[in-house]
Symmetry: C4
Subunit: 238 residues, 4 copies
C-alpha cells in the first residue's frame, strides 16, 4: 500500500470513528493533507461521515477546486480545510464538527479550557470565531476562502477553535492526532459544563498543559485509535 | 413505483428514523399529504413508530375519517394532521412527537429559539400551545377537529409549535423536511437548556435564520436522510 | 397456554423490558399476583432482571415464604411485594427499581409530580418513604414484613412511592400497567429535574391527571408493550 | 483451571465490563494481586480495556518491573497498582479509571459521598489526591513509585480516591469487588451532581454506610457480575 492509499483508508476510518463516537452527526468532515503534494488535500464528497467509503474521497487544491471531481459534489465548507493547510505547514489533518457539548460554549462566550489531563491537547484556551463579526448575517457556513482565511487567522498556531452557533474546527499533525483532539474537545466541554454548575474549577495549570501536550505521542494516539476503529467496525492500519 | 407507493415507503422510513433518533418513543406519529388527492393524508394505524410496516399506513380525509380502515384502529390524535393540512396548503408532512428536550420548554414557558445553524429551520421562535387555555381540563390529547384547528391556528405559518405538557408538532414541505426539523428541534432544545445554565445566549440573528432557512434544500435533507435511514435499517429511495 | 403460564411469560418479558429501558440495572425486580391464588405472588429468584428466564420464576406466599424454592435463592426485598398485595386487592403487579432520575428526588425531598401527559399515571404527587424514620440505621433494604407494611402504608392507594437513598416502588392492575408507570416515572423525573433548572413549572392540573389516568387503557399499554418487548428481543403475548 | 488462570480470565472480563459500562474509555486499567505470589500483580500490557485478551496480561513485581514482558509494553501508570498492593495487604484488585462523572468532583473540590444504598461501598467520603500538591507541574500521570506511594498514602484504608484533573482509583478484596465499587462510584457521582442542582442532600448516614458495606457479599457482587459479563460478551466463571 502506498502513502496515498494509506491516507485514504485513514480518512475512511476517521469518518466512521467521528460518527460512532458522536463527534459528528450527518454533517461535519475530516480531511488530510495529500502525503505527496502538500498543496493538495483529501476530503470526502458531500456525504454523512458514517456512510463514507474509499471512493468518496476527492483530491482538492488549497483553493477548494476539485482535482478529479467525477460528479462527486464537494462539501460547501471545504474552504475551512484549504485555508488552514495554506497557513499551517505543520498541520496534516483537519476536523470540522458540531459535537454537542462545544455548542453552548460558542453561544455563551464562556471560555473552554482543559480540566482533564486527556484534554490538554485542546490547548490552553479555545477561542471562539464569530462569522458575524466580519461577515455580518450569513448562513454561518464557511463558503469561500475569505471566510476560511479569517477562521484560520483566529486559529493561529492553536489546535482548536470554536465557531459561534456552528461548531468547532480542530487540527493535528496526523489524522489520528486531529481525531484524538476532536474527541477530547467534546469530552472536556461536557465535563466543564457539569463542573461549572458545581463551583469554581481548578483547570490544568499552563505548565501541566505543556507537559502533557509534549507527551501525547503515537503510542497514546494508537491506543485510542485501535479501540475507536474496532468499535466503528474498522481495523487499525500498521 | 408510483407516487403513492413512494410516499408510503417514505412514511415507513420516517417512522423508523424518528424512533431510532429518539424523537418519538412508543407514541408520536408522522403523516404525509396524499400525493394525488390533496384533501387526503396518509398516516399509520395506532402503533409504535418503531414497529410500523407498509400495511399499517391508512388513508384519511382531512376530518380524520379513514377511507379504508379495514380494522386498523387510528391514532386518536390524527386531528392534528388534518387540521394543519386544511389550513396550510404548503405543508406536505406533519410530525407530532414528545421528544424529551422540548418538554421542559413547554412547561416552563421559556422561549425556544435557534442557537445552532442546523436548527434555523425551527423558525425564529417556537410558540407554546396550551390546551387548557381554551379547552380547560382535558386529557391534553388533540381528540377532535376543534382542538386541531386551535393548534393549527397558533402554528400559523410557522414550522413548529410546542404543546404544554405534551410535546411538539412540526410541519414540512416533504416528509424528509418535517423529519429534519423535528430532529433539530430536539437537538436545539437540548443545547439551549445547557446554554441557559451557563449564561446569556447569543441566538442566531433574524437575518441568519432567514438565510439558513432559505438554503435548506433537498441536498441538505438528503445527506441527513441517507444517514438516518441506514442507521434505522432502511435505504433512501431515489 | 393457561393463565399461570401467561403470567410467567409476562414477568420474563417485564424483566427484560425494565432492563432494556434502563429502569433497573443489575438489581430491582417485578412481581405479579398469582392469577389463580390471590394470596400468592410470582417473582424471580435473586438474579439480574436482564438475565431472567422462565425457570427463575418462583411462587411465594404473601409473607415471603417460597412455595417451591428448589434451591432458587429469593430476593431479600421480596417483602415489598407481599406487603403491598396484602394491603391492595386492586394491585396485580409490583415493580421495585432504582431508576436513575428518581434518586435525586428521594434524597432532596423535592416533590415529584407529573408534568407530561404520559406521566399522569404516577399519581398527583409521589410520596417519599424514608426507612430511617421508623427503623433507624439499616441497610435500607426492605428485609422483613414490618418494613414492607410500613412502605405499603405510605403508598396507600397511590400508584407509586419513592424510597429515600434507595429507589421507587410502583404498582399496577397488571404487569403491563406497572411497567408502564415505572417507565414514565423515570421519564417524568428526568424531565422535572431539567425543568426545575429552567424556572417555575406548570404541572398537569389535578383535573388533567384524573382525566388522563382514567383513559390509560389496555389499548395504550399494549402500544408501548409491543414496542418495548420487541426492543428487548421478546414478543407481545395475545 | 488453576488459580492463576482463573484470575487472568477475571481480568479480561473486568476490562471488558469496565469498557462496556462506560467506566473506562480507551484508557484506564484494572489489576489483580497474583494469587500465589502476593508480591506480584497482574495487569494488561498498554492497551485499551475493550480490546484486552488473555495474552495481554503481564506479571509485575510491586516496583512495576515486568517479570515476563516479551515485548508487551506496560502502562506508564502501573505504579498506582504496585504502591497500593505494597501498602494494603487486604487489597486484591485495583481499578484506575477516568469515568466521566467523577471528574467534576476532582476539579471543584466538592466532596463525593454516598447517597444511594448501592454506593455505600465507595466509603464515607472520597478524598481528592492532587498531584500538584507535592509534585508540582507534571503530566498528572503516576509515573513512578514516589507518586504511587503518595497516592496510596492519601487512599489509606479507604476503598476509593479521586485524582484532580485525572480520574479515580478504586480498590477491592477481589476483582469483582473493585469493579463493583468503580461502577457505583460513577453512578453515585452522576446522581450527586444532579441532586446538588436541586437542593440539600440527605446522604446515607454513617451507620447506614457501615451496615450496607458489611452486607456487600459475593452474593451481591455475583448478581451484578453475571449481568455485566454477559452484556460485555463474556461468561461468569464459577
Amino acid at each position: 500500500m502506498n502513502r496515498l492509499e494509506f491516507i485514504v483508508e485513514e480518512l475512511v476510518t476517521a469518518n466512521r470513528i467521528l460518527a460512532n463516537e458522536g463527534i459528528v452527526d450527518s454533517f461535519g468532515h475530516v480531511s488530510a493533507r495529500h502525503p505527496d503534494k502538500p498543496q493538495h488535500y483529501l476530503l470526502s464528497r458531500a456525504r454523512a461521515p458514517e456512510r463514507i467509503e474509499r471512493d468518496d474521497i476527492v483530491e482538492f487544491g488549497l483553493d477548494g477546486s476539485a482535482i478529479d471531481e467525477r460528479g462527486r459534489a464537494p462539501y460547501l465548507e471545504r474552504f475551512i480545510h484549504g485555508a488552514i493547510y495554506e497557513q499551517r505547514p505543520d498541520v496534516h489533518a483537519v476536523v470540522h464538527n458540531h459535537s454537542p457539548s462545544v455548542i453552548p460554549f460558542g453561544v455563551t462566550g464562556k471560555k473552554l479550557k482543559p480540566l482533564l489531563h486527556m484534554c490538554a491537547s485542546i490547548g490552553h484556551e479555545v477561542p471562539i470565531w464569530d462569522s458575524r463579526d466580519k461577515f455580518g448575517d450569513t448562513t454561518l457556513l464557511v463558503s469561500d476562502m475569505a471566510m476560511g482565511r479569517d477562521l484560520a487567522g483566529l486559529l493561529g498556531a492553536r489546535p482548536a477553535t470554536l465557531m459561534r452557533g456552528h461548531g468547532a474546527t480542530v487540527v493535528g499533525r496526523s489524522v489520528r492526532h486531529a481525531v484524538f483532539i476532536a474527541v477530547y474537545l467534546e469530552v472536556g466541554a461536557k465535563l466543564q459544563m457539569q463542573a461549572m454548575a458545581m463551583g469554581d474549577i481548578k483547570f490544568l495549570s499552563p505548565g501541566e498543559v505543556d507537559k502533557i501536550t509534549a507527551r501525547v505521542n503515537d503510542y497514546t494516539l494508537n491506543r485510542a485509535w485501535e479501540n475507536w476503529a474496532r468499535r466503528a467496525g474498522r481495523e487499525m492500519q500498521a
